[in-house]
């Protein structure tokens, strides 16, 4: 854990040359297996929750010893029905898949922001606040300004990116100049952003004309992401951003410097890398990505600005990034998984009455198990070689 040399031992930074595809897959196998087993384990714990909270099953367990088959089959049925509805709602139809992807998009971009910061050794808990600031700026431009179609969308998106970038950049600046720990600063700034949003929503400029509710109008149609193949184009922008982050991290000089700072700041400083610059830059970019998530909500999802605009997206973005293990591809896949759980969870709630909170529990458990490989190996009694874990930010200082 504390051995920094393992941090650089990542698949996409091979020591010499580029590995073949087969070698890549080979090197990823243990982590794929571990992630899969974590999901299985989380679903198993979720099944216990479903069983103990299902009245029908519990009533059958009352006469467990008379007819054990009865209660067991009821339990299996309850779990099976719930997870089947979840799967149906996630991937069962064209709409389900669109819904999954549209829910995954903000998670993906905000998660990429968290991932990017991870790689520089910063723990960005501030996606929530950055997302809120991005949403505020994008929405304000979106419903107040009067611009031609296309240009309006671009300006609104840019405003959102700038809003998020400023909110993230402040964190990088404070970290670089005063050493203030980013975890504390980002947690606090999340609440400051929420307060600002709540205050703005009391102003007439941010309310639906003629209404006093703390709710803004939806952005003008000229500022919305148009649909393409049943999905709004913001989703594609999200995938482009993922490619951009991948390129930045593994193909650009600045990305190399960032990773160097993340692996060992002291060594990076000795090698002449400007650490302050890396901190500020990465937080600007992370904020921008989280701001893009706000844009996805406002311009893509067509949500009006309310104090619930960010929902739990900012926190889910952290879990997505953790599950993605600090790589862009991993983050994308994790976001799709979470989007699927979210989208399927709604179907599950409608079909079987199981509360949506079950998916929150599942998400938390998956991440917890992925973060504790020793536990998963212990449960499934596998003896893999210990693989290098990404070293994330350690401690407060």
């Amino acid at each position: 854990m504390s051995d920094p040399s393992t941090a650089t031992d990542r698949p996409e930074t091979p020591p010499e040359g580029r590995p073949s595809a087969a070698a890549l897959v080979q090197s990823w196998l243990p982590s794929i297996k571990l992630t899969f087993l974590s999901i299985v384990l989380a679903l198993a714990v979720g099944a216990v929750l479903i069983i103990v909270s299902n009245d029908d099953v519990l009533s059958k367990f009352n006469y467990f010893f008379q007819a054990p088959g009865d209660s067991l089959s009821a339990a299996v049925r309850a779990v099976g029905d719930t997870y089947w509805a979840l799967l149906q709602g996630a991937f069962g139809s064209q709409e389900a898949i669109s819904s999954t992807l549209e829910r995954a998009a903000p998670l993906m971009v905000a998660g990429l922001g968290v991932t990017l910061a991870f790689r520089v050794g910063l723990f960005n808990i501030g996606a929530q606040g950055q997302l809120i600031m991005g949403a505020i700026c994008a929405a304000y431009v979106g419903f107040t300004w009067d611009l031609p179609v296309g240009i309006h969308l671009i300006v609104s998106v840019l405003a959102g990116l700038i809003g998020g970038a400023v909110w993230g950049g402040v964190v990088g600046l404070l970290k670089a100049k005063t050493g203030a720990h980013e975890v504390i600063v980002t947690i606090m700034l999340n609440y400051v952003a929420l307060s600002i949003l709540r205050w703005l929503l009391t102003l007439n400029a941010f309310q639906v004309p003629g209404s006093n509710d703390p709710k803004s109008p939806v952005v003008d149609s000229s500022a919305r992401f148009p649909d393409l193949l049943g999905i709004h184009t913001g989703v594609y922008v999200g995938f482009l951003a993922a490619i951009g982050v991948w390129w930045l991290l593994s193909r650009s000089t600045i990305g190399f410097e960032m990773r160097a700072v993340g692996a060992n700041p002291d060594a990076a400083r000795t090698a002449g890398i400007n650490i302050s610059k890396a901190y500020i830059l990465v937080m600007l970019l992370a904020g921008m990505l989280a701001g893009l998530a706000g844009v996805e909500q406002v311009n893509g999802h067509e949500d009006p600005l309310t104090d619930g605009i960010a929902g739990s997206l900012g926190f889910d973005a952290i879990t997505v990034a953790l599950l993605g293990r600090g790589t862009p591809l991993g983050t994308v896949l994790a976001a799709i998984l979470f989007g699927a759980l979210d989208s399927g969870g709604r179907q599950m709630q409608a079909a079987t009455g199981t509360p949506l909170d079950l998916t929150t529990v599942l998400q938390a458990l998956i991440v917890l198990f992925v973060a504790a490989p020793a536990l998963v190996r212990g449960v499934f009694r596998i003896h893999d070689r210990e693989e290098g874990e990404t070293v994330l930010a350690k401690g407060w200082s």
């Binding site: 854990m1 504390s2 929750l49 909270s53 009245d55 723990f123 808990i125 404070l174 005063t178 050493g179 203030a180 720990h181 975890v183 504390i184 600063v185 947690i187 606090m188 700034l189 609440y191 400051v192 307060s195 600002i196 709540r198 205050w199 009391t202 739990s312 926190f315 889910d316 952290i318 879990t319 953790l322 509360p355 909170d357 079950l358 998916t359 929150t360 529990v361 998400q363 938390a364 458990l365 991440v367 917890l368 973060a371 504790a372 020793a374 536990l375 994330l392 930010a393 350690k394 401690g395 407060w396 200082s397």
Partner: protein, 445 residues
């Protein structure tokens, strides 16, 4: 600076001001200046008229006593206090030549703390005078004693911060205070309902808080998972689990499962009839008194017992502690679990300690304010208590000032968070320093 002139007998500079020292100084002076300017503006904006302070909290309607003073005059006095303190600090560097002793106590000793508290009080009174002036109501609303509400807000914050202090002094970062609050609140409500007693409910809260603490310890200490990761995930997990369980309680069973009795206020004989503080401080419920006991208890545990010494050793330098035979992991486990007791009680405040039934997200992010209080209080139980009091006061003023509609309370609500950012950025003078090994898992070699 003129300080280099002070030399010892050998002619070597004895008391040269380091750059860090100078920056700290500049920060103190600039913060005081900003406070002074704000106060000046508030004083100018204070409309003529009396400022009335109602000694009793609003909930009490017997022997109402109010104190009145002319608003602008009171504001001026407060402004002068800030101005004098500012002037003292501005001339302090020049005092160093003639009387270095005074200069030093002014900057670090109890005098420094006293002056800062004095300025803080002056600022707060000046602020209240301004906030309550120029009301359209006739007669104008008096300011009610905010002490009672402040304590109510501060109780869970303090307990949560104590939980954090226990964990982090032992070297385990606890971001999951919010999660401990949630499970504590939920199980306190359920247990209290089933048992029909709010006090038994507290036990339920404690058990739940300790259980989540055990999860934190297991993942952080046993499985060496990054502690910030565990903390964040446990908050999500606790929110999801309590929400899920709450939804699973059928409507017809709500009365049986989530309808707890609440802790009744207990008047402390004699003390509760004291003026000003009596009704506010000594007519609270059991949990508030428990909080008052917990602060010195936590301090005593950490700083005056053998156990506490070892806990702190493990948090500062685990390798050294291990070398002298202290079981690092065991101590950490104990500290985290003890912290769970405090956090569970803090969570219980949100149900049996105040409103009764558990609602989704009952603690509404206050676990993170408790974390902020811990950091503002420099990882010390007493410091955390005062920070929690400050945050509680801000929250209380927010609810009180809501009626006046003079200040957007949404903006007021960000004060604790901004104050914490300013504190960790080292702008309040002296960086907030966590225990040296905070957050570092320990692996025996």
């Amino acid at each position: 600076m003129t300080t280099a002139a002070v030399t010892d007998t050998a002619g070597v500079p004895l008391d040269v001001v380091s750059p860090a020292e100078r920056r700290r100084y500049a920060r103190i002076v600039s913060i005081l200046s900003v406070a002074g300017l704000l106060q000046l503006w508030m004083w100018v904006a204070t409309s003529p008229g009396d400022f009335t302070f109602l000694v009793q909290p609003q909930t009490v309607d017997h022997n109402k006593i109010d104190i009145s003073a002319d608003g602008p005059t009171l504001g001026l006095i407060c402004l002068l206090v800030t101005a004098v303190v500012l002037a003292l600090f501005a001339v302090a560097p020049t005092l160093r030549d003639r009387s270095p002793g005074i200069s030093r106590t002014l900057q670090y000793g109890p005098l420094f703390v006293a002056l800062m508290i004095l300025t803080g009080l002056a600022f707060i009174i000046g602020f209240c005078v301004w906030a309550y002036s120029g009301q359209t109501l006739d007669p104008p609303l008096p300011m009610t004693n905010p002490l009672e509400g402040t304590l109510k807000f501060a109780t869970p914050l303090t307990l949560g911060a104590l939980a954090g202090a226990m964990c982090e002094r032992a070297g385990v970062i606890n971001i999951a205070i919010e999660g401990q609050f949630l499970v504590g609140a939920f199980f306190a409500a359920v247990v209290a309902t089933i048992a029909g007693s709010a006090y038994v409910g507290l036990l339920g809260g404690i058990v739940a808080g300790v259980a989540l603490a055990a999860l934190l310890a297991m993942f952080a200490i046993r499985y060496l998972v990054n502690q910030i990761v565990v903390g964040v995930v446990l908050v999500v997990f606790a929110g999801g689990t309590t929400g899920f369980l709450l939804d699973q309680i059928p409507d017809d069973k709500i009365v049986d499962l989530n309808n707890p009795p609440i802790l009744e206020p207990i008047d402390i004989p004699g003390l509760s009839s004291l003026p000003i503080v009596g009704d506010s401080v000594f007519a609270q419920n059991f949990l508030v008194y428990l909080m008052f006991i917990s602060v010195p208890l936590a301090w005593f545990l950490l700083f005056r017992t053998r156990w506490g010494l070892r806990v702190r050793a493990v948090g500062e330098h685990p390798r050294a502690a291990d070398t002298v035979g202290i079981k690092v992991k065991g101590r950490r486990w104990q500290a985290v679990l003890v912290g769970g007791v405090f956090a569970g009680l803090g969570g219980a405040f949100y149900t049996v300690g105040s409103t009764g039934a558990f609602d989704k997200d009952a603690s509404a992010g206050t676990g993170f304010i408790a974390l902020a209080a811990l950091i503002m209080g420099r990882w010390h139980p007493v410091g955390a208590f005062f920070a929690a009091l400050f945050f509680g006061f801000v929250s209380q003023m927010q609810t009180q000032l809501q009626i006046l509609q003079k200040i957007p309370t949404e903006l007021l609500s960000m004060t604790p968070y901004l104050a914490t950012v300013i504190a960790v950025a080292g702008l309040l003078g002296g960086a907030a320093k966590p225990p040296a090994a905070d957050g570092e898992p320990y692996v025996k070699e």
